[in-house]
Symmetry: C2
Subunit: 149 residues, 2 copies
DNA sequence: TCCATATCAATGTATATACACTTAATGTTA
DNA sequence: TAACATTAAGTGTATATACATTGATATGGA
């Protein structure tokens, strides 16, 4: 559906302004979708993002600041997110011996098992694939990268 | 900068997964930018969105639920946002006489004046225009609309 | 008219977020 | 090595958010 209809605004100041609004709107649309899928599993999209990052490094551990660098939303509070995941026993956290300021974080078997189940449902990206060709997805990816400069 | 570098992830499961992440990341990037510009004016991006919607209707008033329909983030709490703006005297709120469940909301002179000043700075969209042609912006807009189905 | 249902806005509450500040450990250099 | 700067992580706090619920009004059918 056209963004004009989604937010009932029939004209925009420019194609660029419309683009900014379209990106924000689409992002919220994607988030709402993930939140809904993740809810029954008791994790937020941000926590899911952290779990995926840790799975990507598994079985190695990485530091909290390394997690932060890899997060989609750099502004979120990684320490507290990690603590939430630890309470659920989805990750483990150990002080790094060689640099005692750092904390080594690693996904647990329980975390990997959860991710396995969730990922199946997270073929929410299937929705996207239903509407766009792979080439079209690639085009947007290239243009967004270009846009951010 | 390529999304791969932004979040230090060198490969994705598919072009579609990459697209979802790219949209979320770019949206956060835009939000962080607006938050920074708006901060000295004491309003949040959501409050800015509401003010713009009200300006679009000015001098007419619209109901809280009409505002909600037009918001980029439909999930936010419009009642409370409106109350914040009222406290700052940027809008006014009157119970609708013909339907006493509704509330008529209208932007004030003070609100319009603030928007005027902010909008000048909000040519943050200039950043986008620096990197993309109008045709490229249009292409992304069309593809995002198509993507949401 | 009466009652069930729908709609509009507001509120309660748990959680999340932004952002400044603190604490502890490590690096640097005079 | 003492003094200062930097880095990593955690914390305090005000605000924002998601989401269920409430309360008031309106609507539509028996």
């Amino acid at each position: 559906m056209k963004i004009e209809e989604e937010i009932k605004q029939d004209k925009f100041h420019s194609e660029y302004q419309k683009l900014a609004i379209n990106i924000l709107f689409t992002s919220n649309w994607l988030s709402a979708n993930s939140t809904k899928i993740l809810k029954p599993y008791g994790i937020s999209p941000q926590q899911y993002n952290v779990l995926r990052i840790l799975k990507g490094q598994s079985p190695k551990a990485i530091s909290v600041s390394n997690i932060m660098e890899r997060m989609i939303d750099k502004m979120s509070n990684t320490s507290r997110l990690v603590e939430k995941l630890r309470q659920k026993e989805l990750i483990e956290r150990v002080t790094c011996e060689s640099d005692r300021r750092q904390v080594d974080v690693k996904i647990t078997h329980k975390g990997l098992a959860l991710l396995e189940k969730v990922n199946k449902e997270m073929n929410a990206f299937k929705n996207i694939a239903d509407n766009l060709s792979e080439q079209e997805a690639k085009t947007i990816n290239q243009l967004l990268d270009k846009m951010r400069g």
